[in-house]
């Protein structure tokens, strides 16, 4: 298998999960898709020229997070997003799914950036504490603490503590 076909296969495997993780991180599916594609393009360039990252998913997630945090990058993405919104209307999910996902997303977006990064890495991407620590450039203990803090904050949220109650309330009021 050539380098290019190998990395193409890796990119295909990583893409859905990477979009999910970056979508949870930045709260915007279009932005997440663009960030994921840019991260994969960088992985591709790296794969065929220098060294391959030990953990491609962790590497791409970190690149995507860094890009999301870059103001210059954000402006470019927003311009692309604007063009896409005009040209490609997105299919609409059912109201129930949309409301639930939006509520969860809002709660996640209220977390501080590092807590959000840690909880998505650990509980959505399934990275080990060690892998998440390498990806985030911090000590494993820091990852554990950030994840714990994020979980505690989500637990405090009534919305997330009892999703069934929330759904019933929403259905009742509609």
């Amino acid at each position: 298998m050539t380098d290019e076909s190998e990395v193409a296969e890796v990119c295909r495997d990583l893409y859905p999960r990477l979009v999910g993780a970056l979508g949870l991180f930045c709260g915007d599916i279009d932005k997440a898709e663009d960030l994921a594609q840019e991260a994969l393009a960088r992985l591709w360039a790296r794969w065929t020229t220098t060294r391959r990252p030990d953990h491609p998913m962790a590497w791409c997630y970190q690149v995507g997070v860094n890009l999301a945090r870059s103001a210059a990058r954000r402006r470019t993405i927003e311009q692309r997003l604007l063009r896409r919104v005009v040209s490609e209307p997105r299919p609409v999910d059912s109201a129930e799914t949309t409301i639930r996902a939006a509520a969860v997303n809002a709660a996640i977006l209220e977390l501080p950036i590092r807590q959000r990064q840690a909880v998505v890495a650990r509980h959505y991407l399934g990275l080990s504490v060690q892998e998440a620590a390498v990806a985030m450039g911090c000590a494993p203990g820091t990852v554990t603490a950030l994840t714990h803090q994020a979980t505690a904050r989500l637990r405090q949220s009534k919305l997330l503590a009892d999703p069934d109650t929330y759904e019933e309330a929403e259905h009742g009021s509609s």
């Binding site: 594609q37 591709w44 890009l67 950036i113 909880v119």
Partner: protein, 317 residues
């Protein structure tokens, strides 16, 4: 909330891509990114070659030739970078501060083989202590004939370490030749009195390692650009003496902090800081440094020069 619940919650909220990945587009994006970076390197090489050709043409057509460059051609001398367990890059700043930057092989290979022609030093000199007026100084290997073309030659005062001086009065620029290094002082004003003051007050010496050190009487200070900038094959290194500029740095076990950013030209910049010693190092390359690479980077301070000592003490000229 149990971990399983949390995982299910995140799964339920995570977006799904609207379409399958267009792998051809990603490949195309990667290739154009690579081409763009190669293009930047080629363009930079062409600029250097063009400048060398321009200098050669200037020298060959000059009616009154003056030899101002002493010692071996500066472009031929390599910076004493040591390649061992890691790549140790020594960088001497104008005030004599010596920093040894330890880089993992994978990163350091981007600067190995760099010569002094790849190095530029910057700073400023004040008219006098306590007076908020001064000039920017830029120091690079080469000839002032190249840096201040068409300038008016000046008589260098006896006792000066400089072998030649040229002034560009309309441009407020004054060039000095110190061995194989050229220094250009520039500012908003350059009166005859300023020129006399600078001629008498600016001095450089070349160190045995090939670097250059400021030994003038006018107070030396920093300026809003790197105090040293080294341009390697695939890595650029900038050194600043200042409080760290990072907005939200993360900490490394070594005590350094770091922050990654994407530059507008598509390159990746990693800002490393030693907050206790007021040193900031920026590494710019085609791709972001990995975390394992970051953990291996060290910034050793072999010598603290007077400017850095003053910054660390919170003083100002």
């Amino acid at each position: 909330m149990a971990a399983r619940d949390l995982e299910e919650l995140l799964e339920s909220a995570a977006p799904i891509p609207s379409a399958a990945l267009d792998i051809a587009a990603v490949g195309q994006r990667a290739r154009s990114r690579r081409r763009r970076l190669q293009g930047v390197r080629v363009a930079a090489s062409l600029v250097v070659v063009g400048m060398l050709i321009g200098v050669a043409a200037l020298v060959s057509t000059s009616g009154h030739r003056r030899t101002v460059v002493a010692g071996p051609p500066p472009t031929s001398r390599a910076i004493p970078i040591v390649v061992g367990l890691d790549v140790s890059v020594p960088i001497d700043l104008l005030d004599g501060t010596r920093i040894n930057l330890g880089l993992p092989d994978s990163v350091g290979e981007g600067v190995t083989g760099a010569t002094f022609a790849n190095l530029a030093l910057h700073g400023s000199v004040y008219a006098k202590a306590g007076e908020n007026r001064g000039w920017r100084i830029d120091v690079v290997p080469g000839s002032i004939d190249m840096l201040v073309p068409g300038g008016e030659p000046l008589t260098v005062p006896s006792g000066s370490r400089s072998s030649a001086a040229i002034v560009d009065r309309p441009g407020h620029r004054l060039g000095f030749q110190f061995g194989s290094w050229a220094l250009v002082a520039s500012g908003d004003t350059l009166t005859p009195a300023d020129i006399d003051s600078l001629l008498a007050g600016i001095a450089l010496i070349e160190t045995p390692d090939g670097f250059v050190e400021y030994r003038g009487s006018l107070p030396l200070w920093i300026i809003g650009s790197p105090d040293a900038a080294l341009t390697g094959r695939s890595l650029d290194v900038s050194v600043f003496l200042r409080n760290c500029s990072s907005q939200s740095p993360q900490s490394l076990a070594s005590g350094l902090t770091f922050e990654r950013a994407a530059a507008s030209d598509g390159s990746s910049v990693t800002v490393l800081c030693d907050p206790a010693r007021r040193i900031e190092v920026q590494l710019r390359g085609a791709t972001p440094l990995t975390d394992s690479e970051l953990y291996q980077i060290r910034i050793d301070l072999a010598f603290v020069g007077p400017t850095l000592a003053a910054i660390q003490a919170g003083q100002h000229p």
